[in-house]
């Protein structure tokens, strides 16, 4: 009798174990595809490196020559402003050359396959791909097929992962709160469609956060979400009680193929973060959002712009975290 794995309703886990692809034999970061499976030591090392880059702003020349002569390709098959521009700025502050390729202006619309695109860019002697794609597993696919000596960073693949976003969130929390083990963190909103939420949950558990909660209506939660190591709440008021950090998610209107919600208005009535509801959390609770925020849908403007909001710090720290990941992965190439 063979026991079949009950994987039908699991979250997407494309390909072989991610660490076989993203780590070198001695455990260093070669690609960054997902936070899942990374050690606490490695995540801490990324955050520590980001800390050194975060202090660069006092320099007259806000650049270091670390990636001089390297070429980074931002390959974006899906719209993005914040992620693409902060990756671009991170690469430029490391003195790399940057090529931005967006799907709307590229030959992918003419029917070129992902593999062909990859081969053609490789032929231009590039050193790193930063890839965003609507399909889960696209970054893994590229990492599996790219030449040795080229690093792949996942800038968001389908519903699967957005590792640099989760890492910059961890960096922001660590800067403001220090130790993770005493923290109660609530992730609120559209967990079902959110690669950000999945990466955040993994990162918080790796860093041994005291309690990780997800707060969402049943229709916006994946099956067996508890298996990821979270406490599930369907009521925002209960979910917010005594938390140290609340991480809001964007309601992904473009991913809603089916009617998961009666209306955005009703969603805000039940799950929107308002000043009054925020009072249920600890008085120094941080409010985070990966952006772009739908004001008046998942978060009230007064909260997004309020004293507890660190939304713009997340953007600033995103550059330092991406610089850390870029220099760690490219640094491994020649060794």
């Amino acid at each position: 009798m063979i026991a079949l794995p009950s994987s039908a309703h699991r979250l997407p886990q494309p390909g072989p174990l991610p660490n076989d692809l993203q780590l070198t034999a001695d455990g260093r970061l070669r690609h960054l595809l997902t936070v899942e499976g990374l050690s606490r030591k490695l995540v801490t090392e990324i955050l520590d490196n980001a800390e050194s880059f975060a202090n660069m702003n006092e320099k007259a020349v806000k650049k270091v020559p670390l990636l001089r002569g390297k070429t980074v390709v931002n390959l974006f098959f899906e719209a993005s402003t914040r992620t693409r521009t902060t990756f671009e700025l991170a690469a430029k502050r490391l003195s790399a050359d940057v090529l931005n390729i967006n799907v709307s202006t590229s030959s992918a619309v003419k029917g070129e396959s992902l593999l062909d695109t990859l081969r053609n860019l490789e032929a231009m002697n590039v050193d790193m791909f930063v890839v965003r794609h609507q399909d889960s597993g696209a970054a893994h696919f590229m990492a599996r097929h790219t030449q040795p000596g080229i690093s792949v960073l996942n800038a968001g693949d389908g519903r699967h992962a957005h590792p640099t976003q989760a890492l910059l969130d961890m960096f922001t929390i660590r800067r403001c709160k220090g130790d993770f083990t005493r923290l109660k963190v609530a992730i609120v909103g559209d967990i079902l469609h959110s690669r950000v939420a999945r990466s955040q949950i993994h990162a918080l558990n790796i860093l041994q956060a005291g309690e990780v909660r997800v707060v969402a209506p049943r229709s916006l939660l994946p099956a067996q979400v508890e298996d990821l190591g979270v406490h599930v709440f369907h009521d925002l008021k209960q979910g917010l009680r005594d938390v140290d950090v609340v991480m809001m998610l964007r309601l992904q209107r473009e991913r809603m193929e089916h009617a998961h919600l009666p209306s955005e208005h009703e969603y805000f009535q039940l799950f929107g973060l308002t000043q009054r509801r925020l009072l249920l959390a600890k008085p120094d609770c941080l409010v985070m959002h990966p952006g772009p925020a739908n004001r008046g849908v998942e978060i009230d403007s007064a909260v997004a712009d309020g004293a507890q909001s660190v939304i713009l710090q997340q953007v600033t720290f995103g550059i330092a975290v991406r610089m850390a990941v870029m220099s760690m992965t490219i640094g491994v190439q020649g060794t």
Partner: protein, 168 residues
């Protein structure tokens, strides 16, 4: 091996003379992580300098990054004042190939344009690969092939000869 204290005394004397000759009251002292910071702190104390000193971590400016990758522990560089038009005393523990100093100079110039930079080292050894020399030197050493000298510290500071394979 000579006592660190007497090497520091040599450096203090040379530093006083060097800056008096040039009519400079008190330079801005900048130590290179980690050993250079220890030596810089000891010097500042002995010289009775009062300006807060700077610290440089040159990891992001190394020329061997593409061969050996990220340094596992990068500390933030801290410079307490603007560097423009300042006289700088750059301090390191051991001057060997000169590559660390080249990296440090590159980093300093990303902070501003100093009026002058003077190099002070606890130990100067053979094996220079770049045209870089120290004006203030605690001791000169000739070492055998594959031999290196390392400063351990911070309490107490001590010099150690170590045998290393292959790496320059």
């Amino acid at each position: 091996m000579a006592e660190i204290a007497s090497l520091l005394d040599n450096m203090v004397e040379q530093t006083r003379y060097h800056f008096e000759q040039r009519g400079i009251d008190e330079p801005l002292v900048v130590g290179i992580h980690t050993g250079g910071v220890w030596i810089a702190e000891a010097l500042v104390q002995r010289l009775g300098y009062t300006r807060p000193m700077g610290k440089l971590d040159i990891s992001f400016y190394r020329d061997d990054f593409s061969r050996i990758g990220m340094h596992p522990q990068v500390r933030p560089s801290e410079l307490p004042e603007e560097l423009d038009n300042q006289h700088i005393l750059l301090v390191d523990d051991v001057l060997f190939t000169g590559r660390t100093i080249r990296a440090a100079l590159n980093e300093l110039f990303d902070y501003g344009r100093p009026a002058s930079v003077t190099l002070a080292v606890l130990v100067e050894r053979d094996g220079r690969e770049l045209p870089i020399e120290a004006a203030i030197v605690g001791a000169h050493l000739e070492l055998g092939a594959g031999e290196q000298i390392k400063l351990r510290g911070p309490e107490p500071l001590r010099l150690e000869r170590v045998q290393v394979e292959g790496r320059s």
